[in-house]
């Protein structure tokens, strides 16, 4: 496994200090870090604990609870496929199976070439256009596997 190169301490501290909201908490700090680096670097846990005057345990506890946090860098792009009930009725399971075939993986995670991270999403908020997918937060609806193929090729 490749050794993870973690961001510099000073960079992380700057991110934690410059959060957009007024109230700074463990969760808001984690969200700020995750927004910046797209994952939670291990060294940021200690820094958040110091900044919010909590224990490292507290910070790990929160970080492991919310399912959007991850602890290793994601692939270059992230593909979200919704599996919620609206999308389910509109064929999400079939789409997911096709996506697996397309990407050559059979669960959430990164493709071998590290290009795409696949995530199953519970709701992307555009149920009227089910099945809904997103590539790097860019939503698109009434998705077909061909559209996903095209969009991935365009990345």
């Amino acid at each position: 496994m490749v050794e993870l190169k973690m961001p510099q301490k000073e960079v992380i501290i700057k991110v934690i200090k410059n959060q957009p909201s007024k109230t700074h908490t463990v969760l808001s700090s984690l969200l700020a870090v995750s927004n910046e680096f797209h994952y939670i670097p291990k060294n940021s846990i200690q820094l958040i604990a110091e900044y919010t005057k909590k224990t490292v345990n507290d910070v790990w506890g929160v970080a492991s609870f919310y399912t959007n946090f991850r602890f290793t860098p994601p692939g270059k792009s992230t593909l979200d496929v919704c599996w919620g009930p609206s999308c389910h009725l509109m064929g999400a399971q079939k789409l997911l199976k096709d996506v697996h075939k397309l990407l050559g993986i059979n669960k959430e995670g990164e493709t071998d070439d590290g290009k795409i991270t696949l995530r199953y999403s519970t709701c992307l908020g555009a149920c009227a256009h089910a099945p809904v997918c997103a590539i790097d937060h860019k939503l698109f609806g009434k998705t077909s596997i061909n559209e996903i193929k095209d969009r991935i090729n365009d990345i």
Partner: protein, 570 residues
């Protein structure tokens, strides 16, 4: 500047925008429009008209007609809005060449028109507000959606915005404001349907100096997108309602609580709050009346349970979103230990019109103890999916036929899934019930937050229930073991049933688990966790009986093992 001057300026600007001799191109946006590709269309028009000073292009909220998106409309001096539906780049090019460059409407792509003055209507185009589905809607909380730019506070003010706040601060005491909300009969739109005025009076009764009003836009319910809809289409309606609730209850701070990742509503809320501060409607000495109120946006990570009121407070405090024990109730011990009150976005969005037009106007609408309107989101096998505000008391079949346009396929509609994944399944035999809190609850399906997912006769009920239980299992916060283990066990059973390896005791076991979850869980997630199964059994017992019959032949309708996330909470 005082409010009257601001309002006058806003109105002049608005009249200029809508009736002057130039084109105002409005592109319907929001998460729904975005998913349909509205952003590209907006960028196309902006790029093309960059050098033309008689054209203004704006992203406005969504009219709710998701099936017609991307929806573009163009207004000229006569004030008539000409709509084009399902616009792609080819159609946009045609619209630009014909309508904007040559001032000649691109007839073959016209969806319809909306005009305030019917005499000005263009002959040959349908008036959208006079035909299905909009003619059956009654827009109060969503009245501005699709009309104004959500990022422009002046457009909101021009359309009657902040009038209610001005009225309340200058003419009504907090007690009178609260009384007005109480007598409107407004009930919480988040799911529990508790009378809003009564809830507020708990908070108003506390004499703590710091009190919080929390606005819940967590909205993890698949099939419901109306909270985000209001926030991204008309955020000031919510902010005004929030300030009014603060005034009525004597609260000092407000939080708008949104899930991380829903970027459009988050940006929209942040911009609206910033603008309201700048113009003097938030902060200290609001509208020079000495009233102070602060609002900020709080984000949460991905957790469905964070939408539960006490879990929500834990999340704002930066902890794991797990529900607290009650009592003490939030009105006594809430956020940071201070008295707090949680309201859904839709509930707060009604407040400005209740204060403006009086509670009696609001009460005229609705049926029985459910006054006003319901904001319904239709998705699934329906011809016209979208977000519609309808009067309470409309029957389900009217909604599906007149608003939704019926099934989207050749098959008939078989069932509805209402009230989110903890809600229920409603079979076609009960489609004559009215949409109101009490009637829906009586039928075993809850109105909840207003999400209605439609399934046609091709829907496999057992498979749908498996999906709902899988959702609940994945989203259980894990605090109460009956919920954490119960959902896992029920999902295992349903997986087995769907893989055609059932056990003849399966249904009994699930009923027993459901019972334990109901009695042994702190919050609704566990208490209501058996709802999808019990409501499905009410209408489709035969399908379940068929599915649990032990046979050596795998049933043909089974779709195989479901693809699910493997991440669960530790």
């Amino acid at each position: 500047m005082d409010f009257k001057t601001i309002k006058k300026k806003a109105q002049t600007d608005w009249i200029n925008l809508t009736t002057a001799d130039n084109f105002w191109v409005r592109v319907g946006y929001g998460t729904s429009g975005y998913a349909a590709g509205a952003k590209e269309i907006f960028e196309y028009f902006t790029e093309k008209t960059k050098a033309m000073d008689n054209v203004k292009v704006d992203l406005v909220g969504s009219l709710g007609l998701s099936f017609a998106e991307p929806l573009v409309d163009i207004t000229k001096e006569d004030g008539v809005r000409v709509f084009y539906n399902n616009v792609d780049i080819d159609i946009a090019t045609k619209i630009f060449n014909d309508h904007i460059k040559n001032n000649d409407i691109a007839k073959e792509f016209v969806f319809g028109q909306i005009c305030n003055d019917s005499e000005k209507a263009i002959i040959g185009f349908a008036e959208l507000d006079k035909i299905e589905p909009l003619v059956h809607t009654k827009r109060i909380a969503t009245k501005n959606c699709g009309n104004i730019s959500p990022t422009n506070i002046m457009q909101y003010i021009a359309n009657g915005g902040y009038e209610a706040l001005f009225k309340a601060l200058n003419q009504l005491t907090p007690e009178k404001t609260l009384e007005e909300v109480k007598s409107s009969g407004l009930r919480g739109r988040g799911g529990a349907a508790f009378p809003t005025g009564v809830k507020w009076s708990f908070l108003a009764g506390s004499d703590s100096k710091t009190k919080y009003i929390l606005c819940n836009c967590e909205e993890g319910d698949p099939g419901a997108f109306n909270d985000k809809g209001i926030l991204e289409n008309d955020p000031h309606m919510l902010i005004e309602g929030l300030i009014l609730s603060g005034y009525a209850t004597g609260a000092s701070n407000g939080h708008v609580f949104i899930r991380e990742g829903h970027e459009i509503p988050i940006e929209s809320a942040r911009k609206a709050i910033k603008d309201a501060y700048e113009i003097g409607f938030l902060g200290e000495n609001i509208m020079d009346t000495g009233f102070n109120f602060d609002v900020e946006v709080s984000l949460t990570g991905d957790s469905y349970v964070a939408g539960e009121e006490t879990a929500l407070m834990e999340a704002i405090e930066g902890k794991r979103a797990m529900p607290r024990f009650k009592p003490p109730f939030p009105a006594a011990f809430g956020l940071w230990g201070k008295p707090s009150n949680i309201n859904n976005v839709k509930t707060l969005a009604y407040i400005p019109s209740i204060i403006n037009n009086g509670s009696s106007e609001f009460k005229k609408l609705g049926s029985g103890n459910s006054t006003g309107t319901a904001i319904i989101c239709l998705s699934g096998h329906i011809k016209r999916p979208g977000m519609y505000e309808i009067e309470m008391g409309m029957t389900i079949s009217e909604l599906l036929k007149n608003v939704g346009g019926g099934s989207s396929s050749i098959n008939d509609i078989k069932l509805l899934q209402t009230g989110g994944p903890l809600g229920g399944i409603l079979g076609a035999s009960d489609f004559n019930i009215k949409i109101d809190f009490d009637e829906m609850a009586k039928a075993g399906a809850i109105l909840g937050s207003g999400g209605i997912i439609v399934g046609d006769t091709s829907t496999d009920v057992v498979d749908l229930v498996r999906n709902l239980i899988a959702f609940n299992q994945f989203e259980s916060c894990g605090k109460c073991f009956p919920c954490r283990l119960g959902n896992t066990h029920m999902l295992d059973i349903l997986e087995r049933i769907c893989m055609s390896i059932p056990n003849d005791k399966d249904l009994d076991v699930m009923a027993r688990i459901g019972n334990s979850m109901k009695t042994g869980s702190l919050c609704g997630h566990g208490q209501l966790g058996y709802n999808p199964i019990s409501s499905a059994l009410k209408y489709f017992k035969d399908e379940f009986d068929e599915a649990v019959k032990v046979s050596s032949q795998p049933s043909p309708r089974v779709s195989g093992k479901m693809i699910l996330p493997t991440r669960t909470r530790p």
